[in-house]
């Protein structure tokens, strides 16, 4: 029963207003774009094997995004979203966790799934919403998820995963697990009421959750200065009484370092942490968006020079952990694999018509069964109008 906090601060006798700049928030940067590390920097826990895995995941991400945008342009795919320029945030975040930790994504964090081993086939089956998709072809492309990999299935509704992450983490804590929940969201989603709800509940309930904000400058066409007037998202963490850090999101070593420390703290103290990763959305918001309508080529070119994958490659080369020959071979291999997987996935059947009513409840109700039966009679009557399902039940 504590209300004494109200009198904790200094007392003044003239009106003294503070503003958003009163709290200075430094940005953690460990790796320079040329691949050198800053002399006084604390390096994350990383060796050649883990660095190689991270780098290969980043490369795969880049290839998958390029190929799938091309597939969407060819009309083979209805929709796609790249994470161009932000790959280090998702891959680095996942790499700092343990496999038992839950990851909740917004939709631009496919890199986390890749790092955890979501197979190329799994990606393809979801993108082509075929019968092999873990989600049974019900959601739009890029709404991935996997129970086996502890990656919560994506939903389109922005920020709803934030209070859910707080609850999920609280459940992990109640069970006494050595596990945290990491929750990704963009700076636009942080304007939703669920951001406030989730951070406040996590702080009050002391849930071991890492809130990971990708501040990439834009929410579709809305630049961040039309999204908020405070000092980014990080300044809000302090207001909720939460450990908070701002990092260079294009610096894989900064992402790793901050997330590794956040995880250790969240588990040990059972408290939430907020990480704000500064980055830039180099690609369009989605394949339904054209950024040339709201930003300049010059701005994009400036951020091209901060490419997180190139930055890590430069570091790997300097470490003598990687060479150009490996680089060429890796990208070629991934391009071939992705192309081959597209050809397989697009030929797999659509999900069976019966899956339309399963999983609404644990068991379909009598009403649902009756509705499905009616649809089946109808499809049989007009088979040419329903080519995917007619004749398959």
């Amino acid at each position: 029963m504590s209300t004494e906090l109200y009198n904790d601060g200094p007392v003044v006798h003239q009106p003294t207003f503070i503003d958003g700049t009163s709290v200075e928030i430094p940005e953690l940067r460990i790796l320079d774009q040329d691949g050198t590390t800053y002399p006084n920097a604390d390096l994350p826990d990383i060796d050649q094997a883990s660095a190689t895995k991270i780098y290969q995941t980043l490369a795969f991400h880049r290839v998958l995004d390029e190929r799938m945008v091309a597939s969407q342009r060819q009309g083979r795919l209805s929709f796609y979203m790249t994470a161009l320029g932000e790959e280090a945030t998702s891959v680095g975040g996942a790499a700092a966790l343990q496999p038992q930790d839950m990851i909740m994504m917004q939709y631009r964090e496919q890199g986390a799934l890749m790092y955890r081993g979501f197979s190329l086939e799994n990606f393809m089956n979801q993108l082509f919403s075929n019968a092999e998709d873990l989600g049974k072809g019900r959601q739009m492309p890029i709404h991935y998820g996997s129970k086996a990999l502890n990656c919560m299935t994506v939903s389109s509704t922005l920020a709803t995963q934030i209070p859910q992450a707080a609850g999920y983490a609280y459940g992990q804590k109640l069970q006494g697990l050595d596990a945290v929940t990491l929750c990704y969201f963009g700076e636009g989603a942080a304007s939703e009421g669920d951001f406030h709800a989730g951070l406040n509940m996590a702080a009050v309930q002391e849930a071991p959750v890492i809130f990971f904000c990708r501040n990439n400058g834009y929410a579709i066409s809305t630049p961040s200065d039309e999204q908020f007037k405070g000092n980014g998202i990080a300044s809000r963490g302090v207001g909720y009484g939460m450990k908070t850090i701002r990092i260079d999101g294009n610096d894989i070593l900064a992402v790793l370092k901050a997330t590794q420390i956040a995880r250790a703290y969240a588990v040990k103290e059972s408290k939430p942490v907020l990480i704000e990763a500064m980055s830039y959305r180099l690609g369009a918001h989605s394949t339904s968006d054209d950024p040339s309508g709201y930003r300049t080529k010059e701005e994009e070119a400036k951020w091209q020079s901060h490419d997180p994958i190139l930055r890590m490659k430069n570091w790997m080369l300097k470490q003598n952990w990687w060479d150009e020959e490996q680089e060429t071979a890796l990208f070629e291999k991934y391009r071939e694999e992705v192309l081959a997987a597209v050809k397989v996935a697009e030929k797999i059947d659509k999900p069976h018509i019966d899956t339309m009513i399963t999983d609404v409840y644990d068991v379909p109700s009598a009403q649902l069964q009756a509705q499905l039966d009616e649809v089946k009679v109808h499809v049989k009557k007009y088979p040419e109008a329903y080519p995917f399902t007619a004749g398959k039940f």
Binding site: Q139, G145, T153, T160, Q164, G167, Q175, D362, S365
Partner: protein, 325 residues
């Protein structure tokens, strides 16, 4: 068996659920040490600890978002929304998230362990925001179950079934009856089935259908009608979604007449769904139009509450009109 009120029955159900599974938690605004503004969670924090029965910050979308996460994690989450009138900030977390969780993930994840409890309904001079009956909003949402008990025995049995059901359930508690409704309730564990209506009184001339606190209204009207020689079959729907079409159809096939009464406004209330379905299922058996006795299509008023509500006199008049059609 002890004579207890509806609040006590709910408290007993929560106690049993928390005792049987250490992964069961109860939370919401003022739910902790204070035991809830209606005292439904009284004593639970003392018995099971602050980690399992606790106050949440005052944020309904946070309560249900947090509960969704807990349930997805495998914890049995029993969330309280202080008044059903204040469930709307959580509408997105309920409709877009909880209801669709299992479907959209292909059953990779689910929130079957979620139960949302909330006091609903009028008759307590609660005005616009302490009187609403929002069940029809949720009845339009595949993936949810919506349950409303009418007395202490029903409340305990249906709440335990709701908590153990492997789907997200909204459990609306008739707050007007919290202390007013007293009845025999076994101290031990028992369950009543979800999705099943209950024929409370058999009759031959007309079927009267309602749920929750409205049950005692139609029972009173049925008594008045019986004094006039009209035999009413009285049915408690109990579960709004998915509802028991079969029991209602069988009853109307027999009586040939149906009157549905609800506290909520008429237009697009759940009575409309029932009327349309029964008209389709029992067309050749109906001897009169299906009657709906509901609240007016206005916000819930304070001073004119008596005139607004679908009381026993309005139901009684509608029974006579339907039988004499």
């Amino acid at each position: 068996m002890a004579q207890v009120n509806l609040l006590h029955a709910i408290n007993s159900a929560l106690d049993i659920a928390m005792a049987e599974n250490e992964r069961t938690v109860c939370f919401g605004e003022d739910v902790g040490h204070f035991g809830g503004v209606f005292r439904a969670t009284s004593g639970l924090q003392e018995k099971y600890g602050k980690a399992r029965c606790f106050n949440s910050p005052l944020v309904e979308q946070g309560i249900i978002g947090f509960a969704n996460g807990l349930a997805a994690q495998g914890t049995v989450a029993i969330a309280e929304i202080q008044f059903a009138d204040y469930i709307f900030p959580a509408f997105d977390q309920i409709v877009n998230e909880a209801a669709k969780f299992r479907y959209r993930t292909g059953n990779e994840f689910n929130v079957g362990k979620l139960t949302i409890r909330s006091p609903y309904g009028g008759g307590i001079a609660g005005g616009l925001y302490h009187s609403q009956s929002p069940e029809a909003y949720f009845a339009h949402t595949p993936g949810l179950k919506v349950v409303i008990p009418r007395n202490p025995y029903q409340a305990k049995g249906l709440l335990l079934a709701s908590i153990r059901d492997d789907n997200p359930v909204i459990f609306f508690e008739p707050k007007r009856l919290y202390r007013a409704s007293v009845g025999e309730v076994p101290e031990e564990d028992y369950q009543l089935p979800l999705g099943k209506a209950e024929v409370v009184q058999t009759g031959t001339d007309i079927t009267l259908l309602a749920w929750g606190a409205q049950m005692e209204i139609i029972e009173k009207a049925a008594q008045m009608a019986s004094n006039e020689g009209i035999s009413c079959e009285v049915v408690d729907l109990r579960t709004i979604l998915p509802w028991d079409i079969e029991t209602i159809t069988n009853s109307v096939m027999k009586t040939g007449r149906l009157l549905i009464s609800q506290e909520a406004p008429l237009t697009a209330g759940f009575a409309s769904e029932i009327a349309a379905t029964i008209q389709s299922e029992c067309f050749l058996h109906l001897e009169s139009p299906i009657a709906r006795v509901c609240g007016l299509d206005t916000p819930y008023p304070l001073a004119l509450e008596k005139e607004y509500v679908s009381d026993h006199l309005k139901v009684y008049e509608a029974i006579k009109k339907t039988v004499n059609f």
